[in-house]
């Protein structure tokens, strides 16, 4: 049973320059022509931002609306292990458009340790109603465990698919099986049921009270995708990749080649339709991850990684310990957002008909991230989504951990950051350090504004005005209405020119241009090692 527990309709007027609830943006989805809906969760609060873009290049934001989870609300859409969880399916934030339900995200409550690690249902973002963004948290009934050895998070919602013809939302719920949420008769008469995969009989069984289940015969549902033109459901499970044999049938077929694999996710889209699947399982004491693709809906082959000379390179995906956090399709191209546990490496893999497209990178030539210009700051890339451009084309939106989102209107050739930026004074009259307090291994962005192109020198001074670091010297920076900061270079990491972490304290940042302007900012470091 689902029950509606709360309804909020909050529209905030944000300060100028604030486009997102937070720059920690975890998921984005298309919300109609020219609109991107973003879920963010920062230190202070979390919530939705609806960005509307105008036509033309570069993409221009026409408006933004917000809906914030109040601080005392004890649920959120992103669980606390989103970066660190070793299970690939738990490092994703599924966010899909779901007809009458608007757009849906998972919902987590606080567990007994005070962390958001308790799957509780899903959040339905309805859109703009009565002048504001509104959402409904839809609570799940108490989850019944198939096996008490599982943790709460083994029941997390790791994927959604919406059948727009029958108005049914499908949700992968791990060990709790598959949720079918039918809103065809309206919200007052929701029909929902839980299905489990009967491996032996190769079919979906409706879970009923008192039903006896054997875990060995009931694989966890880790991912799912809907093939709209055929209305066929694909299921990524702990034992193989399954597909409905016939429309609306309970009978399933196991995909050969992946029948023994732990398939953590399946994604489907593009023109013509492509299917991406990821397998992740422990073999000989190490986690083996593989990326698969099917171009015909039947046969799956490992995604080929080739170098810039065209030579195939084996073991790339497994060797990097990536896992898929999201997949976007633009025509024949596929964009796969991947990252390692903890997010030390993250970015996009671009797939064409031959496989992953390499580029002239020094280290990982298949990963498109900070160095490739997807984001303008070295932050973790969390997801990628396609969205409907104002002109009807397909755009891309990448969410990041701390740098808002990046959007592209040209199939990933160029990217444009969208993030909250407080105003800084003209001609270095004010310098803003973001954040102004950094801990060990932290970085602070030096934000400033120039009214004309200038050569800039940035230096760090201790309290007693001894120079400890030169960040850049006579570096060319553009004029800007907002900020002239080069987010890739104008950063201080709390270290001196010798690379030694400076001691805890307050430091002063001087920005000088070649036109005689001087500005000062302040930053505090809690020290490093």
């Amino acid at each position: 049973m689902f029950r509606i527990v709360l309804f909020f309709c909050v529209s905030y007027l944000f300060a100028a320059g604030e486009l997102l609830v937070s720059n920690y943006s975890f998921a984005a989805t298309s919300f109609g022509k020219g609109k991107v809906l973003v879920f963010s969760r920062g230190d202070a609060n979390g919530g939705f931002s609806l960005l509307e873009f105008g036509t033309g290049a570069p993409l221009r934001i026409l408006s933004s609306e917000f809906s914030i989870f109040e601080n005392d609300v004890e649920y959120t859409a992103v669980h606390d292990g989103i970066l660190s969880d070793t299970k690939a399916e738990l490092r994703r934030v599924p966010f899909v458009k779901a007809g009458k339900l608007g757009s849906v995200l998972p919902m987590y409550e606080l567990d007994s340790t005070g962390l958001f690690r308790k799957p509780a249902g899903f959040i339905s973002m309805r859109g703009v109603e009565e002048g504001g963004l509104s959402y409904i948290p839809l609570e799940l009934p108490r989850i019944s465990y198939l096996d008490t050895s599982f943790s709460l998070m083994d029941n997390a919602l790791s994927a959604f698919a919406y059948d727009s013809l029958s108005n049914v939302l499908w949700s992968a719920m791990g060990t709790s099986g598959l949720l079918r949420y039918d809103v065809s008769k309206g919200f007052g008469n929701v029909q929902e049921k839980t299905l489990v995969l009967n491996k032996k009989e190769q079919r979906l069984d409706t879970l009923t009270y008192g039903m006896e289940l054997k875990f060995s015969n009931t694989p966890s549902i880790l991912g799912l995708a809907l093939q709209p033109e055929k209305n066929v459901l694909w299921l990524a499970t702990s034992t193989g990749l399954w597909v409905q044999e016939e429309t609306q049938s309970a009978k399933l077929k196991l995909i050969s080649g992946l029948e023994k694999s732990r398939v953590t996710g399946v994604w489907l889209g593009g023109t013509p339709t492509q299917i991406i699947a990821e397998t992740s399982e422990y073999k000989s004491g190490h986690l083996e991850n593989k990326l698969w693709r099917s171009l015909d809906g039947k046969n799956f082959a490992e995604v080929v990684f080739r170098d810039t000379t065209g030579k195939k390179i084996k073991g790339v995906y497994d060797g990097t310990d990536y896992s898929v956090s999201d997949v976007a399709f633009v025509g024949k191209q596929v964009f796969v957002a991947v990252r390692t546990v903890g997010g030390a490496e993250s970015g996009l893999l671009k797939l064409d008909s031959l496989g992953a497209i390499p580029w002239e990178a020094e280290e990982n030539q298949w990963l498109y991230g900070f160095e490739a210009g997807v984001v303008d700051r070295n932050t973790i890339i969390l997801s990628v989504n396609d969205w409907l451009l104002p002109n009807g084309g397909t755009g891309l939106a990448v969410t990041t951990y701390g740098n808002g989102i990046s959007v592209s209107a040209d199939s990933g050739k160029t990217w444009q950051p969208v993030l909250n930026q407080a105003a800084v004074g003209k001609n270095l009259s004010s310098i803003r350090m973001v954040p102004s307090v950094i801990a060990a291994d932290g970085e602070s962005l030096i934000a400033y504004n120039l009214s004309k192109e200038s050569k800039v020198t940035i230096e760090i001074f201790s309290y007693d005005m001894r120079k400890v670091r030169t960040i850049v010297k006579d570096a060319l920076r553009p004029a800007s209405a907002g900020r002239s900061t080069n987010a890739a270079e104008d950063l201080w990491d709390g270290r001196d020119d010798m690379g030694r972490a400076v001691t805890m304290g307050i430091y002063y940042v001087r920005v000088k241009d070649n036109h005689g302007h001087v500005g000062w900012g302040k930053v505090m470091t809690l020290g490093g090692r």
Binding site: V437, A439, D464, L526
Partner: protein, 340 residues
């Protein structure tokens, strides 16, 4: 005079001798910035001057030369919202001993706390302080030995802005000690040696752990206050019938945690040079160089009769030009005096 010029050139050659080390990244800026306006005006020199105050800070050996209870108070405001000050009190014990205490303060009264989301959370006023307690014994009429115990306390004042992290605000260093010696060579010359920031650790290095969060959500860090050798030389004379003095100090900061480092890259050498002249009776004009900073100052001594006793006072003013940062700081004032 030739000897003095040679010595000045030698000391100035030490300045920035090592380009590898970055002194600003180490603990101890409160101590490095000096205490009191009188000494600041002449390049932050005071370790070889028996009248320098607070003696517990400049050179604990100076305390043995006090004849009365003396006090000093100084306050200054520097550019970029930096405020500082010091307070000292000292006096004699018996005929050969002296005791003194001092507190040094530096802070920033307007630090904007901005989070990762580019939102201003509020403003903090972090401060950094050093406390000294010194003792001295006069070996002869002309020379004395002293020791001072010192400790720092810093408060960042930011924890109230972080609800989800248990950020620590206050940090206290362990007890360290400083040893000082002064010798009045004759009526004109004085010489001093001060060794600062020795700890009771096996390497005598003032090093301590700073636990930045109460819930281990942030990585802890370490503080290291460099061992410092400070050698001072003073020369007093009369020029055109008025008193004049020249002060020199050479400082060696050891930027290493070992007992003694012989690698030049582990040392930062700098020098201080100050001169003062009595331009009017009891009115002093001072100039100085402290590393790369240039200073100037004024001082005037006077007495106020209260009852049957005359109370000596001295007011001082100084300005500092921090040349590396190109900042002028014209607001440093001090009052000192003796209780008769």
């Amino acid at each position: 005079m030739q000897k003095i010029i040679l010595l000045v050139l030698l000391l100035l050659s030490f300045v920035q001798a090592s380009k590898e080390a970055r002194l600003g990244g180490f603990d101890g800026f409160v101590e490095r910035m000096g205490a009191s306006t009188r000494e600041l005006g002449r390049g932050n020199t005071g370790s070889a001057d028996t009248l320098a105050m607070p003696g517990a800070y400049w050179n604990p050996a100076l305390l043995a030369f006090r004849k009365n209870i003396a006090y000093s108070l100084h306050a200054e405001k520097r550019d970029l919202d930096r405020a500082g000050g010091s307070l000292g009190i000292e006096g004699k014990i018996g005929s050969r001993m002296g005791i003194g205490a001092a507190v040094l303060y530096r802070g920033d009264w307007d630090f904007e706390v901005i989070d990762e989301d580019d939102k201003t959370l509020g403003n903090a006023a972090p401060f950094f302080s050093m406390m000294y307690l010194g003792f001295s014994y006069r070996l002869t009429r002309r020379d004395a030995l002293g020791i001072s115990l010192s400790m720092s306390y810093d408060n960042l004042g930011i924890s109230k802005y972080y609800d989800d992290i248990d950020v620590e605000d206050g940090y206290r260093s362990p007890l360290t000690f400083n040893i000082g010696f002064i010798r009045q060579l004759n009526a004109k010359w004085s010489f001093s040696v001060v060794v600062r920031n020795l700890s009771f650790d096996e390497n005598l290095t003032a090093r301590w752990t700073k636990t930045t969060s109460g819930d281990n959500s942030l990585e802890s860090t370490e503080g290291v206050r460099p061992k410092t050798l400070q050698v001072g030389l003073g020369y007093r004379s009369v020029l055109f019938g008025r008193s004049a003095a020249l002060w020199l100090e050479a400082l060696d900061y050891q930027l290493s945690e070992v007992f003694l480092a012989f690698d030049p890259d582990a040392h930062y050498w700098t020098a201080r040079l100050g001169a003062e002249y009595e331009v009017i009776p009891k009115g002093m004009l001072r100039v100085g160089i402290d590393g790369e900073n240039f200073t100037a100052g004024l001082g005037y001594a006077f007495d106020i009769r209260i009852g049957k006793k005359k109370w000596p006072f001295e007011v001082n003013y100084a300005l500092v030009y921090e040349s590396e940062a190109d900042l002028w700081n014209p607001l440093s004032f001090a009052l000192r005096g003796y209780i008769p």
